[in-house]
Symmetry: C2
Subunit: 309 residues, 2 copies
């Protein structure tokens, strides 16, 4: 499970949280004494926690399961009861995620309901494949489709791992949404020649002041949107808010292996001797974000999230 | 030859011009009467002219050879004389290109000579592989290296055809320049976290007011440079100036086949059913261009090129 998260087999902040919760609940099933259970729990918790540094939902889900575990131990629950309840907690996290995504979609849709035709843009994949099924950034587009709106979504391919081409295009087409793919260097020109109504992206972690860590390329997309006066929204469940961080500069950015940029599916595309700069995420300053769409409503600047949010 | 230009085997505006000049000079060699020569010339001229719509050097080189041809016909030169002189003219174009690139490099170097260490950025390949050997955008970096400067160049991979990864990285490394590759969506983050001294890009066509057509992604790179207060330069020979066009909106933009975006080095990377938006070039408004480095000096805004330029 840890390996799957690390190698991005499981990806997308909410899906990582769900996978980690299930991972923890499943990995402790083999323990046959309370001592073994505690040992196995702590070990699995540490391994899962170390997989990805940027996605806060990972830590959020692990903490939620851990707090539940501590509570159950204090209540002197039996070994089998603890195993069953922690698994139920993981199921609950998944179900809650689905409901949250529907809520995000409903709020996002309010931004589009007055448009006759919707032309939107997104980067990476913050859709059903990154969540329990309905997505965050894509939720509003699914809702618009359900409401019978005519909608076209432009999907950035999102190098180096091409989540936009491989996942977002696949998922949008499957849901009957008109989808157009473009490479990451074509975003500015598209904005210059085509009226884009809005851009919605996902988030891996949002600081208290609204600064948002998301897939690499989000920051420059926000600058381009700003230069072309296109509304730029972040969509995420409130579990993505990290109120412990006052601003985005405190969010650690993961750097990935150079092989991901030098090759694609085993085919070499650059000289192996070259240096590679490969951040997996970037942080978009709150000043470039028109609004943050959550399951509890749309927030506007100046952002100042509290724990209750 | 036409096929090679069209399929981008020969690419880079100056190289296309040189190839077209040689193409025309070589294709007429088989004609054995003056009638055949004129027929063959006109046919080859039309075929070569139709290969790429954006690169003005192509038209410039073809017109130069055509004017020479008309002049030679008027002078009643013999069949063999015309064949020989047109071939010499192509050689002359190539030699002039090399000298022009050295001049561009010398002017570009004046922007860097006061820097202790140089950190630069570029997109696509406007280097020796796109010209007769020394490059336009890269010429200044080669000159800096020759002068013993410590220099690092960040090369954008430049999707979909990866000229940055495949050509620029190869060429810079071969010339002993420290080179770092990044994908096109990483440019903004790089500018946010690293001090970039200057950006130099090539040009396929420059309008009278300085608006510049170049590889797709150049426009957004210029906006990002502007947002980060990084000097943004275009480097090109004066043959790239198209004084017949008052502004960039008149430059035709070539759109490429969707297969180039749906596949990555021949490996499929997106669902085949998806639409694709794939412009090969974009136009950067003059307001985002700090200066235009030519073989005749560096021009600054407001640009207003005349034919003598």
């Amino acid at each position: 499970m840890a390996e799957a998260i690390k190698r991005l087999v499981v990806r997308g902040a909410p899906a990582i949280g769900i996978a980690a919760a299930y991972g923890l609940a499943i990995l402790i099933q083999k323990a046959n004494t309370m001592g073994k259970l505690k040992e196995e729990f702590e070990h699995s918790y540490q391994v899962l926690k170390s997989t990805r540094p940027t996605a806060v939902n990972l830590f959020w889900a692990l903490e939620r399961i851990k707090n539940k575990f501590i509570q159950l131990c204090e209540q002197s629950k039996s070994l089998e009861e603890i195993k069953a309840i922690l698994f139920e907690e993981a199921v609950l996290i998944e179900n809650e995620d689905f409901a949250m995504c529907r809520q995000i979609g409903a709020y996002a849709y309010t931004l589009m309901e007055n448009l006759k035709q919707i032309t939107a843009m997104t980067i990476c994949n913050a859709g059903g494949l990154a969540t329990s099924g309905y997505g965050t950034a894509l939720a509003g587009f699914y809702m618009a489709k359900e409401k019978g709106k005519e909608i076209e979504v432009f999907s950035l391919e999102t190098r180096p791992l091409l989540q936009g081409s491989r996942l977002t295009c696949h998922e949008l087409l499957k849901n009957g949404i008109k989808t157009t793919l473009l490479t990451d260097n074509m975003a500015g020109y598209l904005m210059q020649v085509k009226k884009i109504d809005l851009i919605i992206v996902g988030a891996d972690r949002i600081a208290k002041n609204g600064d948002t860590a998301n897939k690499i390329g989000t920051y420059q997309l926000a600058i381009l949107a700003h230069a072309h006066q296109i509304p730029f929204y972040v969509a995420a469940p409130t579990s993505t808010l990290d109120t412990a961080l006052s601003e985005g500069s405190q969010i650690p950015i993961e750097f990935r292996d150079k092989q991901e940029v030098l090759t694609f599916q085993g085919v070499q595309s650059a000289p192996l001797a070259v240096n590679v700069f490969s951040p997996a995420f970037d942080v978009t300053p709150a000043k470039y974000i028109t609004g943050i769409i959550t399951n509890k409503g749309i927030y506007h600047p100046p952002y100042s999230f509290k724990i209750e949010d």
